[in-house]
């Protein structure tokens, strides 16, 4: 019983990590109708930059300065990455109006980021000590790391913060207007290109923050973003892009199924159920569990 509880808690935390990055996918999808395949590597960039500003890579000891440094570093990196991805991959792709230019363009950006980090920084794996320490709490016999609690809290703040920004401010409403109907939005005087760019900056910044938060729970490495990025993408699709509810449900499905499979079947198979569920969901509901069906007009 206790074990199942532990699996559910750990799985949910994993699911929230996925959901947080998936939230980044949704933000840019709603305004640009593209998926930014480099987002996983942007998250990795957050982990690596946070690490470099906090830990000495050679000794593994702390550099000794405040945690504020990595936080600021990660925010700046996110904004730069978001602007660059929009400028060099998304904007030219949208101009071409091709069905899949953006897929390859963002994949290419992801490859460039990863390769650059490998060459400039390191190809190794490093441990990132949590600023909150590594002693787990015990709640009803279930262990939770303080870093995990921090992650859940920050993720909740980010999601609610962005959602209320969209709901209650005029700029947020403008973002929603652009995602619903670009042309009419521009008839309201809303500069749609700027809105798209802002969504990419926001999305990349969320990803780098996620990288900083996730790093102490895993290892820091140039490849830490690849599979996380793909799984978060899967989560946003299971839930249905543009659906907030879907993110959480999708994240929990994937996270918990992973932990159950790892515990009761084999850790090698832990990713399998999630991806099988994904394919089944798409077969039954082509736009995800909570996605809106698009009506094509002739």
């Amino acid at each position: 019983m206790n074990q199942i509880f532990q699996i559910i808690v750990s799985g949910s935390i994993q699911g929230i990590i996925y959901a947080l990055i998936a939230f980044g996918y949704n933000l840019t999808f709603s305004t640009s109708k593209t998926i930014n395949f480099s987002l996983g590597n942007v998250m990795m960039l957050g982990g690596v930059i946070g690490f470099s500003l906090y830990v000495d890579i050679h000794s593994g000891n702390l550099l000794g300065h405040s945690y504020l440094f990595p936080i600021i570093g990660v925010l700046v990196a996110g904004m730069i990455a978001g602007t660059a991805i929009h400028k060099f991959a998304i904007e030219p792709s949208l101009k071409l109006k091709s069905e899949f230019t953006w897929v390859l363009a963002t994949l290419a950006v992801g490859i460039i980021i990863k390769n650059a980090v490998e060459q400039i920084w390191s190809t190794g794996d490093f441990r990132f000590p949590s600023p909150l320490g590594d002693v787990p709490f015990r709640i009803f016999g279930t262990g939770i790391y303080p870093q995990e609690i921090l992650l859940v809290v920050v993720a909740t703040i980010i999601v609610f913060g962005v959602e209320s920004f969209k709901k209650y401010t005029i700029y947020g409403k403008a973002i929603q207007a652009v995602s619903e109907d670009k042309e009419t939005a521009s008839l309201m005087g809303i500069p749609q290109h700027q809105v798209v760019r802002i969504s990419f900056i926001l999305s990349a910044t969320i990803a780098t923050i996620a990288g900083l938060l996730v790093a102490p729970l895993t290892f820091v490495s140039a490849s830490m973003g690849s599979s996380l990025g793909i799984k978060a993408y899967a989560v946003s699709i299971i839930g249905g892009l543009e659906s907030g509810k879907g993110l959480v449900v999708g994240g929990l499905i994937l996270g918990i199924s992973e932990f159950f499979t790892a515990r009761y079947i084999s850790s090698g198979y832990k990713e399998l159920p999630g991806f099988i569920i994904l394919i089944l969901v798409i077969l039954i509901k082509p736009n995800g569990l909570f996605g809106k069906t698009m009506i094509k007009k002739v």
């Binding site: 069905e99 994949l107 394919i279």
Partner: protein, 609 residues
């Protein structure tokens, strides 16, 4: 004569690489590099069928490649080569039998992969292909008693009698396979199958209206593509006589996709150039080996934005600029004209006395909205029936009900005495109806002639097998049909533009092309959905004469039109809709004076009238 010599010379060149193993003994370049290029190019060709022709992006082809490779390994590997591993059962089948097995089993995997593509697209479909690749990758890593897990499978080097087919000599096995695949792919692309693929890509609704079943052709494309990927995989196993799971990761799927886009889709040359670059670039420029992926990434961005048709596209465009006369040797119009003299149009469409179309108390509701309400309409044989009404009066819904895009919530659609409520859109072509579209739905990258050929789709009889092998009867049928299509183009006055891409046509010409495509289906009832929208007065005059000519041949026409001038002039009978209801009907001169009609159109009776 000269031409013939030139041609046979060209074919000889194709086979030249087979001499390499005899004269070159460098293992690294022939076996290592060239061998890899050949096998990977087969994989890119398979990806091209799905991504280039059908337009569905696949980021999971490494998975299919793996299925082929492991099928070969499981059936062909020997106990001696794998002593001490986790596999206990060795089939030790011969190479060829295992290769056939690899193709078949991978094709089955492709069949499954195809289903999500029927209803999903874009980011939703891309992720299912990724998931599919990852699932396969996980299974080959973990199913140790089948795949030996991460330790991989060792193969026994190939041999026929005393002739070794290992090392450089393996080229004798794989190079003919590459030629075969390119030949098959080319035959497929030139046939009505290839056109059906592209038709679905540009407009699946128009394709279905031409009698093309989207599900059948999409799934078939995935099966064919997977079969070829399985072939590539099966051949790969013996390249190094060893396979292990890490070759088949997501990165490899991405690499194949990159090669396809680098080279340019829908081109054998592009497939080869793309993969060659991916394989040899890092070898040529050793200084960037560590930065290999970064350079690829940047190159990919540049190609995407500056060469949207890939490197093959650039080559083609340069060639066309240098030798403008050589373009489009694909169709010999003079020859087609000669063949066409024995073809008479409208032959199979003799007028009948059966009522072409009857709508009985037809009703369509969307939620609370009644878009079509108790509609009664009869198109009499051999007449032009006009259907008119202001914007939002239910005209489009009515045509969608007749063509099967919507199923009526009540009432009956009867086409040539058959109740058609439940008949799928692509099956309605078989009932004898053809349509045009209000917003043009042409296959824009195909030529004008090819657009009309898509209309003839259901009249092709060649089997897929004979198409792939390029048998002579396929060519005869194709020529005959091309000749017929050229005549249809003549009928609408477009034959001089037969080889032009459809997207380059002026608007009025595009409208006429849609009619030609619809006529090529040899229908008995023609549905024209606002054909005059956006046309000038003279263009409308020309259009009217075409429609009247069609009527002369006994074909009935349902003309949905907003343009009063046109509908009044050529209709035999008119039905007027407003708010989904029939508000008037009868001969034009009567309808014209109907006060309800005037009110619906002008907002009031008008003091001047």
């Amino acid at each position: 004569m000269n031409n013939k010599v030139f041609k046979s010379f060209k074919y000889l060149i194709y086979f030249l690489p087979l001499l390499l193993p005899i004269f070159v003994h460098n293992e690294y370049y022939v076996h290592g590099i060239l061998g890899r290029i050949i096998i990977y190019t087969i994989l890119v060709a398979s990806l091209d069928i799905v991504t280039g022709y059908i337009g569905d992006i696949s980021i999971g082809h490494a998975g299919l490649f793996a299925v082929g490779a492991y099928t070969m390994a499981v059936f062909n590997s020997t106990a001696i080569a794998n002593a001490g591993g986790s596999i206990h059962l060795f089939y030790e089948w011969p190479f060829l039998a295992s290769l056939v097995m690899a193709v078949i089993i991978t094709a089955i995997f492709g069949f499954i992969l195809g289903f999500p593509s029927l209803r999903s697209s874009g980011p939703y479909l891309a992720v299912t292909t990724i998931a599919y690749g990852i699932i396969i990758y996980t299974i080959i890593n973990e199913q140790e008693n089948l795949t030996n897990g991460t330790k991989g499978i060792q193969m026994t080097p190939l041999k026929i009698g005393s002739l070794s087919l290992d090392g450089n000599n393996y080229l004798w096995v794989i190079y003919p396979c590459l030629l075969l695949v390119m030949y098959i792919k080319n035959n497929l692309a030139q046939s009505f199958w290839g056109r059906a693929f592209e038709a679905i890509k540009f407009s699946s609704i128009a394709a279905e209206s031409c009698g093309i079943s989207k599900s059948y052709f999409k799934i078939s494309a995935f099966v064919l593509s997977a079969g070829i990927a399985g072939l590539a995989g099966g051949l790969f196993t013996h390249l190094d006589n060893y396979i292990a799971p890490n070759t088949f990761s997501l990165d490899f799927s991405i690499l194949a996709l990159m090669a396809l886009i680098f080279g340019g889709v829908r081109s054998a040359l592009g497939n080869i150039i793309g993969m060659t670059l991916v394989v040899i670039l890092p070898d040529l420029f050793t200084w960037f080996k560590d930065y290999r992926l970064m350079v690829f990434g940047i190159l990919l961005l540049l190609v995407l934005f500056f060469l949207p048709n890939g490197i093959a596209g650039l080559v083609r465009e340069t060639f066309e600029k240098l030798f403008p006369k050589k373009i489009n040797t694909k169709y010999d119009l003079l020859k087609l004209k000669n063949i066409g003299e024995q073809i008479s149009l409208f032959d199979s469409q003799k007028a009948s006395s059966v009522t072409p179309l009857k709508l009985e108390s037809l009703e369509m509701r969307f939620g609370g909205l009644v878009a079509v309400n108790q509609l009664e309409l009869v198109v009499k044989p051999g007449t032009i029936h006009g259907l008119m009404g202001p914007n939002g009066s239910g005209k489009s819904t009515t045509i969608n009900l007749i063509t099967g895009l919507y199923k009526p919530t009540n009432g009956k659609v009867i086409i040539f005495d058959q109740l058609a409520n439940e008949v799928a859109p692509n099956k309605r072509a078989g009932l004898g109806i053809a349509r045009t579209f209000q917003n043009l739905q042409l296959f824009s990258d195909l030529t004008v002639l090819e657009n009309v050929l898509v209309g003839l789709h259901t009249h092709y009889k060649s089997s897929l097998f004979s198409i792939l092998l390029g048998l002579p009867n396929v060519q005869n049928e194709e020529l005959h049909h091309q000749a017929e299509c050229l005549k249809w183009l003549e009928f609408v006055g477009l034959s001089h533009l037969a080889l032009e891409k459809a997207k380059n046509l002026a608007y009025g010409q595009a409208r006429r092309l849609e009619i030609a495509r619809a006529l090529a289906m040899r229908p008995k009832l023609l549905l024209l959905d606002e054909p005059a929208a956006g046309l000038t007065t003279t263009e409308i005059e020309e259009f009217n004469s075409i429609i009247l000519k069609v009527k002369e041949h006994g074909i009935s026409v349902l003309l949905i039109e907003h343009h009063m001038d046109m509908i009044m002039k050529i209709s035999d009978e008119i039905t007027v809709l407003d708010f989904g209801k029939k508000i008037a009907g009868g001969i034009p001169s009567v309808v014209q004076k109907n006060t309800l009609v005037i009110q619906a159109y002008l907002g009031s009776e008008g003091e001047g009238a």
